[in-house]
Amino acid sequence: MEPFISLTGSAVPLLLDDVNTDQIAPADRSHGHGADMKATLFSRWKAGDPNFVFNRPQFQEPRILVSRDNFACGSSRESAVWAMTANGIRCIVARTIADIFKENCLRNGMLTIELPADTAKDFEDKVIKADGAKHFTVDLPSQTITCPDGSKIAFDVTPAEKTALLEGLDDIGQTLKHKADIQAFEARIKQEKPWLQEAVARQ
């Protein structure tokens, strides 16, 4: 996984609640062979509304996406993350973010930041003011966002997630270090509840 350390670029404001993954990555554009993930991102909203923020010239290459509550709820499709990374977005800032999406982001080197409502409001205002022309810097080691006016916003991230992102840790590799524990667990269950370790049509 590509490590995440620091990122500088424009921030695109999608200031809506409950944006769901069906909108982020519509199904008809997500799953075919060699689906063009770059074009997938918000393809329906892009096609339906010329004023949609991603259609505006200043938001053609954002690095940060800013949204409100319950961002990326709904389907677990990881294409919602891939559609963003294909467009160069590596950081989501929102008031709250749906659980499955957060997990998917973490496994793709995408930083998710949840800001409390008052800080979020302040940040959103700066993003609107910057209007794609001025850049923000998200720095993970110091856990701060530096705004175009030089002000800094601190954010929380768990130590484990911070390490995973900074080092680009391979999630599967981490668990495979415990392979012996997994096998011991399986051996124990085979004794105690053999039906769980064997799944065949019996009748």
């Binding site: 909108q23 008809d28 799944a199």
Partner: protein, 466 residues
């Protein structure tokens, strides 16, 4: 110390703690599907890893399959995704519930139906509706594609332990009110992100009184209010429902299992991080009016007024009204319907089709209405046909299909057209999900049947009396 049902399942599956603090939880049953399995299996190949337990892993062909009635006899071709699943699964020795197989169906429908899911067990599926199986008192994990790869490689999931919530459902449902109405009510009352971060246990007299298939319907929509998973304690009804199913243990193993399965319930005095009580006694059939599953009203209610919502949410509310082609204050009942879809992992089991058959038998679709019924699994299809339901439905003018996700998410191009109003027994009324610009209203199966027959959104109870 008294424990919750969730904690009991978690601890029974805890392998160890990872150095980053995540718990490694063992997965008893893993069913993938055609949208995500090909990518994840390919990544396993590319990384040189192996599938740790192909014998506890299956893949169902559901999302991208055709629903044509002749598909099973017309060669097992299927979509490019279906073909890729076959090739890779064979390489790993993973059983595919393929087109034409007797066990084919939507992953969350067939897992329970085949008796794979036992109370207190764990299940993973790369699909947000994995939580369906919580209706049997089992714990589901919905994964993305990389997590799916993790399950393939390790037969575990590495998770931060979620918080717990209990929703006590009190009262007694009125006749004609179903599990679907209960979950729609829960979401509208507690909000589309009300359960974010939590595993929810649904409890109380309403949960206890529901039949097992209703519990599956209820738990299915746990993700629709953000829950990590949802479940209902198993009881004697659950055990009776599972007994004798193909993959369920038999003989001495069944007997040995029983004692443990009966322990999978929340102990008196166990505490939850949050608790809610919802009285369901006065509940009427529910229907969504908007573009998220929390925008719900009773069938006799009026489309709500923007002034009734928090000013910060007003723009989104107005957008939903506009998208749905509705005006605040108008009655929802009586709206003309273009398409009716009865299907999905939410509401396409045999008990659902029985409800539908009761309503449509001997009747005809209203003129101009297009209606589809797509069974949740091939087994449901056979059972329905054995009872002659296919004839009941097609005589009435419905299209009867082979099992798959179909129009739930616009699979295989089965969609409505812009501006059409669809009454659907599915779980998501998101914009564009059933086609660009399509207006979806979620209801239970009998309500959908009533809409098909009358051509408008209708209180099924009035129809039954008439």
């Amino acid at each position: 110390m008294p424990q919750t049902l969730f904690a009991k399942i978690w601890e029974a599956h805890l392998v160890t703690k990872r150095t980053d603090g995540r718990d490694i939880i063992y997965i008893d049953r893993h069913i993938m599907h055609d949208l995500h399995a090909p990518i994840a299996m390919q990544k396993i190949v590319d990384s040189g890893r192996t599938v740790h337990r192909p014998d506890l892993t299956w893949s169902s062909q559901d999302h991208s399959v055709s629903i044509r009635l002749d598909r099973d006899t017309n060669a097992k071709d299927g979509s490019p995704l279906n073909q890729k699943v076959r090739v890779l699964a064979k390489q790993f020795g993973i059983r595919v519930f393929d087109i034409g197989d007797a066990e084919q169906g939507i992953s969350h429908v067939i897992g329970p139906e085949l008796g794979m899911i036992l109370p207190g067990s764990t299940y993973a599926c790369p699909d947000s509706h994995a939580c369906t199986i919580g209706g049997l008192g089992a714990l589901a994990f919905a994964t993305g594609t990389t997590e799916l790869e993790h399950v393939l490689a390790t037969q575990t999931i590495a998770f931060v332990r979620p918080k717990t919530m209990r929703v006590n459902l009190t009262g007694k449902l009125k006749p004609g009110v179903t599990a679907k109405d209960v979950i729609l009510r829960i979401i509208s009352q507690l909000g589309v992100d009300g359960a974010r971060g939590y595993v929810v246990e649904y409890a109380g007299p309403v949960a206890e009184a529901l039949e097992v298939e209703g519990r599956l319907t209820l738990c299915n929509m746990s993700i629709e209010w953000g829950a990590r998973s949802g479940l209902i304690a198993p009881d004697e009804k659950t055990l009776a429902w599972i007994k004798g199913r193909p993959y369920a243990p038999v003989g001495a193993q069944w007997e040995a299992g029983l004692e443990g399965w009966r322990e999978f319930k929340t102990d008196p005095g166990a505490t939850f991080d949050r608790e809610h009580t919802i009285d369901c006694a006065g509940l009427d059939p529910q229907i969504t009016w908007g573009t998220n599953p929390g925008q719900v009203i009773g069938i006799s209610d009026l489309v709500p007024d923007p002034s009734s919502v928090d000013p910060a949410k007003r723009d989104a509310f107005l957008h939903s009204l506009d998208y749905m082609g509705l005006t605040a204050g108008q009655p929802i009942a009586g709206l003309a319907v273009d398409v009716v879809f009865i299907g999905s992992c939410n509401n396409a089991r045999m008990s659902d089709l029985e409800e539908v058959a009761k309503i449509v038998r001997g009747k005809k679709l209203a003129s101009g209405v297009r209606a589809l019924i797509v069974p949740g699994s091939s087994a449901v299809k056979r059972a329905a046909e054995a009872k002659g339901f296919d004839k009941v439905f097609t005589d009435a003018g419905f299209q009867w299909g082979s099992s798959g996700c179909s129009m739930c998410a616009g699979g295989e191009g089965i969609v409505a057209t812009k501006g059409q109003r669809v009454v659907s027994t599915t779980n998501r009324n998101f914009e564009n999900r059933q086609g660009a610009g399509v207006r979806t209203h979620l209801v239970g199966p009998a309500m959908a049947a009533a809409a098909a027959i009358t051509g408008k959104i209708t209180d099924v109870r009035a129809l039954a009396e008439a």
